[in-house]
């Protein structure tokens, strides 16, 4: 009863347009008073800070900063120019660039929010210019970033591997396969939408012109070279790559392009700090909520329900999807895994579900949670970095949620999609 009132309170705050951190924070405070009155009040602040005191989250502020620098200066424009010269003649054009770019960026950053921030600043204006609708452009940006958690390296897969003792190499191989499948699904959607929106596309350029475009963008191309090269050659970690890309962007924009002066740098730094704050305050409230979900042992209760219903394998998989879908609405990805995987994994094993397959399922569900309204971290990142209202982004995201659900069903019921690449590599 009290719980229902608290949930009602959350819905009311949401509809009334309270800041999202209040929508999460106020009901959490009410819940604490109602159910954990004896818990010291200061614990609330401890959990709020705990929600963001992770080293692995540091990639987000740095990549937001780098993206704002590139977007305000020349680097982003030149990078898009190169890709347009190479694939601008295809019908989907810039739409495919978003998918491919997010996969490449996700491959290195391992962070979906960072991917949204970085890609958004670079390609959103170009998508609109090419004729894609606002709705579709926003939806595509937010959803493509999901691939960051699937395509290796991925902290999410490492966390899963640690909890369940599954081989991380195999998970990475499987994540690559599933990430590609998702990318292809988005590319097909882009192709269809490009026809519908009648998106403009340029003429096919001769190779001479293409090479010239690449040469002209040599300084801008240094950015992906440094990030990708630096990580895969073992010089830097993904988080460090984020910081290094900030330094590179500042140096190139000031020394080579002369498009950045001290005043502009200060303004961009300040804006990036504010963007960071907007996202992290939500993660902070998520830290508080996931603490209460853990204490209440919600997943165990759900499993109890399943057990009493004498559910089979199919019902279990559906229940897994629903659990993650709901949890993903409120809680950040890594906490979701920590709370849900330990109770669910043994059940998955008892149904004979392959650990790698289950890992893909779980990770895909976590991805989906980041783009499903009303609480989807990636939605908020896009809202904050592009300055678009959350409601507009949500409208754009729905069709992609549908695409995701279709892919999710395929992954759930055809284990071969997840296991194909690992078997190819490891036999």
């Amino acid at each position: 009863m009290i719980l229902a009132l608290i949930l009602l309170l959350a819905v009311l705050l949401l509809v009334a347009g309270f800041e999202m951190f209040l929508v999460l924070g106020l009901p959490a405070l009410a819940y604490k008073e109602a159910f954990y009155g004896r818990l010291p009040d200061a614990a609330v602040v401890q959990k709020i800070v705990g929600g963001i005191d992770h080293s692995t989250l540091l990639a987000i502020p740095f990549f937001i900063f780098a993206a704002n620098l590139m977007g305000s200066g020349q680097i982003a424009r030149q990078l898009v120019g190169v890709v347009t010269a190479l694939v601008g003649h295809s019908r989907g054009g810039i739409g495919h660039v978003v998918v491919g770019g997010s996969m490449a960026f996700g491959a290195v950053s391992g962070s979906a929010p960072a991917t949204v921030a970085a890609m958004g600043r670079m390609v959103y204006p170009e998508m609109r210019k090419a004729g894609y609708s606002e709705k579709f452009s926003l939806g595509l940006l937010v959803s493509s970033a999901e691939t960051a958690l699937l395509i290796p390296p991925s902290i999410t897969l490492i966390v899963y591997g640690w909890i369940t003792g599954t081989s991380i190499s195999q998970l990475f191989a499987a994540g690559l396969g599933v990430g590609l499948v998702l990318g292809v699904a988005f590319a097909i959607f882009v192709e269809i939408q490009a026809r519908r929106d009648n998106v403009s596309h340029s003429d096919r350029l001769p190779w001479g012109a293409r090479l010239r475009a690449i040469w002209n963008a040599k300084w801008a191309l240094g950015m992906p070279v440094i990030i990708l090269g630096g990580i895969y050659s073992g010089v830097i970690t993904p988080t460090e790559a984020a910081a290094v890309s900030v330094v590179y962007a500042i140096l190139v924009e000031t020394l080579v392009f002369r498009s950045l002066n001290w005043g502009a740098l200060v303004k961009i730094t300040e804006d990036s700090a504010i963007n960071t704050s907007i996202i992290f305050v939500l993660l902070a409230m998520g830290g508080l909520i996931s603490f209460f979900v853990t204490l209440a042992q919600v997943p165990t209760a759900i499993l109890g329900l399943l057990d009493s219903a004498d559910a089979g394998r199919i019902a279990f998989l559906i229940a897994v999807n629903i659990c993650f879908f709901i949890a993903g609405m409120f809680i950040d990805p890594n906490s979701t895994l920590l709370v849900l995987v330990p109770p669910l994994y043994p059940v998955a094993q008892s149904f004979g579900i392959d650990p790698v397959h289950f890992g893909m399922l779980v990770t895909f569900n976590v991805c989906l949670g980041m783009i499903t309204p009303p609480f989807g971290l990636d939605i908020f990142v896009a809202s904050s970095t592009l300055g678009k209202p959350v409601a507009d982004i949500i409208r754009g995201v729905w069709p992609f949620v549908l695409v995701n659900v279709i892919v999710l069903l395929l992954i759930t019921y055809i284990p071969q999609i997840s296991l194909f690449v690992p078997r190819l590599i490891y036999g």
Binding site: V15, M20, P61, E270, F280, F380, V390
Partner: protein, 165 residues
């Protein structure tokens, strides 16, 4: 308001200094690792320092973000209400936000005292850990201040976004 202008200058300067320092430190630690040897070991504290600085960055920017209408929320349903009702809802939000900010700042302050008394220090730098909870103290106070100013009509945070862009 002279005080507000001064406060904003301080907030902005701190944010910029913190963020740039984080970038320099993190990049610097890559360089020291490339140099290698026991020299690299001397910079093992950078990771911890940058993580703490990020906490302060996040909380220090809360108030400015609110003042500029940047915090995310789903406002399109509210906007369909009649003008009088919108005003009332906005005041209610300001009021709740004010209390939320003050309450959490107060809780955070008690945590600062508790942790300082317990003597906890950060593992590599040896900084008293109570100080990290100063970040939410200051941050939630700055947030509460902006809610309060908006409640009494001194700043207009609901239309700030349109003005800015």
């Amino acid at each position: 308001m002279k005080f507000l202008t001064l406060l904003r200058t301080i907030e902005r300067s701190l944010l910029v200094a913190l963020f740039l320092a984080m970038v320099v430190l993190y990049t610097g630690s890559v360089v020291t690792r490339e140099i290698g040897g026991t020299f690299a070991s001397r910079f093992a504290w950078v990771e911890e320092a940058v993580r703490m600085m990020n906490l302060f960055l996040v909380f220090l920017a809360l108030g400015l973000a609110l003042e500029r209408g940047k915090h995310v929320g789903i406002t399109n349903l509210r906007e369909r209400l009649p003008a009088g009702a919108i005003r009332a809802v906005c005041k209610l939000i300001d009021l709740c936000g004010l209390f939320f900010g003050l309450y959490l700042a107060w809780l955070a302050f008690s945590l600062v005292q508790f942790v300082l008394k317990s003597g906890q220090a950060s593992p590599t730098l040896g900084v008293p850990m109570g100080y990290i909870y100063l970040a939410p103290v200051v941050g939630f106070l700055l947030l509460a201040l902006r809610y309060g100013l908006s409640l009494f009509g001194i700043i207009d945070r609901f239309n700030a976004q349109e003005q800015a862009e």
